[in-house]
């Protein structure tokens, strides 16, 4: 049993250190990541799983259902398998056909429900689902690995581990829509359900069940191809398959548009780190667990494949960081007082940002009993933060800017490079895009995704105002700064709500924003395909539904030691 440190006395890392894009783009999954929160809850509550319907033909076309039953309710993944020609396979939001399409049904669907869903789910954005569905998703095959695995299994052989590790999934989702999208139930429908406390739990339950479907599908197709010789995947190899995901710019504005929620996520992780750094003495068991985890995370880094030069460099640094860390262990650094704090401070001096943030995830890992409950704080009612306090004085508003946004005031937005980019939404595909301000005529369409610039402009406008006048008076004259004032009042209370970097700078990398969000989901193996598009793996190593009762999902977050 760990003693609980006094939370009010914790020394949290300052926001202007944590919320920098370079650091956010180095975050790793941790035990507070939403996939891990989900599996822990499903296990603790002894959820039961079954596959009531499997009507898939030898060409891989048909329908299957996966039912999850907990102490209060059941949910069902309804999966539709399609036969998609290679030339139609695209992960982009503009695609119109997919290898498989899915929905998460609230309860157990009857025949009529499945018939209704079969008319709509395969159409995705062009269809319509209902209040009975919480999530709409689709996935495409990893052509190479999918065919290779079927081929091996059909011959009665197991596939090699190397191609499995380098791809990591049989299928990758290209969209997982929740909350009221395309007719799905509004978040309010399920927000009070205890099984969904936290963030993105219905969406991630969907993805986890999709993972089981992808394995069932390749085994089914192998058997259909060669009924006499086909075999099934060996359990240890099965675990190495996750679900892939392609994520583009659509996810990047999320971090700027949901500041209170982002604060809740980062604050939980920072509180966990501060709690562990405050521990006076590490016991032998925790140290041993930590040292094993470091070795396992090192294997994970070795298996992390990308072609992108930015991430390649970061992985090289991370691998060097592991070597430094293991060398550092020889001096027995965890024997001292406040060992985790000392180790963290050492890392700040000796490791890259990628290594430092990996270490943050690792040092909180042995202390689940102390920190797991923080996952309950990783959600928020954004409406509570909406109202502006009109009585706040101009002086206080200026103080907030000076204290929280000194970094933004230092940026010269008259310089071309500082405002080189524009966030906008394209008419053609309604997807967020990042344009070049000085090369395209798109300034009229700019989205409000440049808080640093807007706050500096507001600060300049405030200079001519009497310091004792109120925000309400200022906003009557300057409605163009209303979103800025709302943001300032929120950031005053919620320090991790703001990305402390210029989001329209010429060298801003959207993949840093994507990486931050995806790490909170629990994704691994970030593989940027450009500066604005990333592939990831989800649930790799995790138990499958039928194994959850017997396997601790938290022990699966890093590859096993023998997996080299």
């Amino acid at each position: 049993m760990q003693t609980q440190p006094d939370l009010s006395a914790l020394n949290l890392r300052p926001a202007n250190e944590v919320m920098r894009l370079k650091r956010m783009g180095s975050f790793h999954q941790s035990r507070l990541s939403f996939m891990r929160v989900l599996l822990r809850r499903l296990k603790n509550e002894n959820w039961q799983f079954s596959r009531p319907i499997w009507q898939v033909n030898a060409d891989g076309v048909g329908v299957a259902t996966y039912q999850a039953t907990g102490p209060r309710r059941s949910y069902t993944l309804v999966a539709f398998a399609h036969d998609l020609p290679d030339e139609k396979r695209s992960d982009r939001v503009i695609a119109e056909a997919w290898d498989s399409t899915f929905t998460l049904f609230d309860g157990i669907p009857n025949k009529a429900d499945i018939e209704r869903l079969s008319q709509n789910v395969p159409l995705q954005e062009a269809g319509r689902i209902s209040d009975s569905e919480f999530v709409l998703a689709r996935a495409n095959r990893s052509v190479r690995l999918f065919e290779y695995v079927i081929d091996c299994l059909a011959k009665g052989e197991q596939p090699d581990q190397e191609p499995i590790e380098s791809t990591g999934y049989l299928m990758r989702t290209s969209a997982v829509y929740g909350s009221a999208k395309f007719g799905a139930a509004d978040r309010q429908t399920w927000a009070d359900r205890p099984e969904f406390v936290g963030s993105f739990q219905p969406e991630l339950l969907t993805v986890w069940l999709i993972r089981a479907f992808t394995i069932d599908l390749v085994e089914h197709l192998a058997k259909a191809r060669a009924p006499k010789t086909a075999t099934t995947l060996a359990p240890e190899l099965r675990h190495r398959f996750g679900v892939g995901n392609s994520t583009g710019l659509g996810m990047a504005p999320f971090l700027l548009n949901h500041p209170a929620l982002i604060h809740a996520w980062v604050n939980a992780r920072e509180t966990a780190l501060a709690q562990v750094r405050a521990i006076d003495k590490a016991n032998a068991e925790d140290i041993e667990q930590f040292e094993q985890l470091v070795q396992r995370a090192q294997i994970n880094a070795k298996n992390w494949v990308t072609q992108h030069p930015y991430q390649t460099e970061k992985i090289t640094q991370l691998q060097a960081d592991f070597d430094k860390l293991l060398t550092h262990f020889t001096s027995d650094p965890l024997a001292q007082e406040k060992p985790w704090n000392a180790l963290y401070l050492w890392a700040e001096q000796h490791l890259s940002l990628e290594g430092q943030e990996q270490l943050v995830s690792l040092i909180i890992e042995p202390y689940g009993e102390m920190i797991d409950q923080l996952s309950n704080t990783m959600c928020c009612d954004e409406a509570e933060q909406f109202c502006i306090s009109g009585a706040m004085t101009i002086k206080r508003l200026q103080n907030i800017i000076e204290q929280k946004y000194g970094w933004a005031l230092d940026i010269d937005f008259d310089g071309k490079q500082a405002c080189a980019r524009i966030w906008y939404v394209s008419e053609e595909k309604l997807e967020p895009r990042l344009g070049e301000r000085h090369e395209e005529s798109i300034a009229n369409y700019e989205q409000a995704l440049a808080p640093a610039r807007d706050i500096k402009l507001a600060y300049e406008a405030l200079q001519t105002w009497d310091k004792e006048q109120s925000c309400a008076q200022f906003l009557m004259r300057h409605p163009e700064y209303r979103h800025v004032v709302r943001r300032l009042q929120l950031v005053e209370k919620l320090p991790y709500a703001e990305v402390c970097d210029n989001t329209i700078a010429h060298d801003m990398l959207p993949i840093d924003l994507l990486r931050c969000k995806l790490s909170f989901f629990g994704a691994t193996h970030f593989d940027p395909r450009s500066d604005r598009w990333v592939r990831i793996t989800m649930f790799q190593g995790a138990p499958f539904p039928h194994e959850l009762a017997d396997i601790d999902p938290d022990d699966c977050a890093y590859p096993p030691l023998q997996s080299t």
Partner: protein, 204 residues
């Protein structure tokens, strides 16, 4: 929110429009219709709206109406003191849209009343905190222009949620989507190539 932005509201006021519509729709009140009609009305001509500052200067003689979103947001900012400075009656576009801001501006119950000249009905809506109580046929709530009065009153007996107006909702949503579309940039070859994943092969 996007629709209001497309109609020319500042980002912050567009957020307020989104807040008002969500608040009213959650209580079954026809805010989508009200906003769609309001934005269309503003757009159909170079409509003159009254600067919000004049709401707090009752001696002003101008007769142009107020925008319910702009005035509403300012009332919420000013709190109960702002409400007390309002004249007894004000010319207001789509008065329904101001109700959520009145509820946010003070803790006490407030009764809004306006006369819908199209349907010849007096509309009465009481708000207090999260509660809204309607003493009018729901169909009479939306009107482009009305003289609206506001007074303290007894609290509504209980929170009331009216059945959702599904009829014609699609039509009004389409209007809002048309306004939202004004925020989208026309596609160019450069923008297509700037989309995530453009020009890359998805098969692996």
């Amino acid at each position: 929110m996007k629709a209001a932005r497309g109609a020319g509201f500042s980002w912050g006021l567009a957020e307020e429009a989104g807040f008002a519509v969500q608040w009213l729709q959650a209580r079954g009140l026809p805010a989508v219709q009200s906003l769609a009609e309001y934005l269309s009305w503003c757009d159909s001509d170079a409509r003159q709206l009254r600067p919000v500052q004049q709401a707090f200067k009752p001696e002003s003689s101008a007769i142009a109406p107020f925008c319910p979103i702009t005035l509403g947001a300012s009332l919420a900012d000013h709190g109960p003191q702002g409400l007390s400075q309002l004249p007894a009656a004000i010319q207001l576009c789509q008065p329904l849209l101001i109700a959520p801001f009145i509820a946010a501006a003070c803790d006490t119950a407030q009764q809004l009343q306006w006369y819908n000249t199209t349907s010849n009905q007096l509309c009465t809506l009481t708000v207090k905190g999260p509660d809204a109580q309607l003493q009018t046929a729901i169909g009479a709530l939306t009107c482009n222009l009305a003289e609206c009065s506001l007074q303290a009153c007894a609290a509504p007996k209980k929170s009331q949620c009216y059945s959702r107006i599904e009829k014609d909702q699609a039509h009004h949503m389409a209007t809002l989507n048309d306004f939202a579309a004004r925020t989208y940039a026309p596609a160019t070859e450069a923008s297509r190539m700037a989309g995530a994943g453009a020009g890359l092969n998805d098969n692996d």
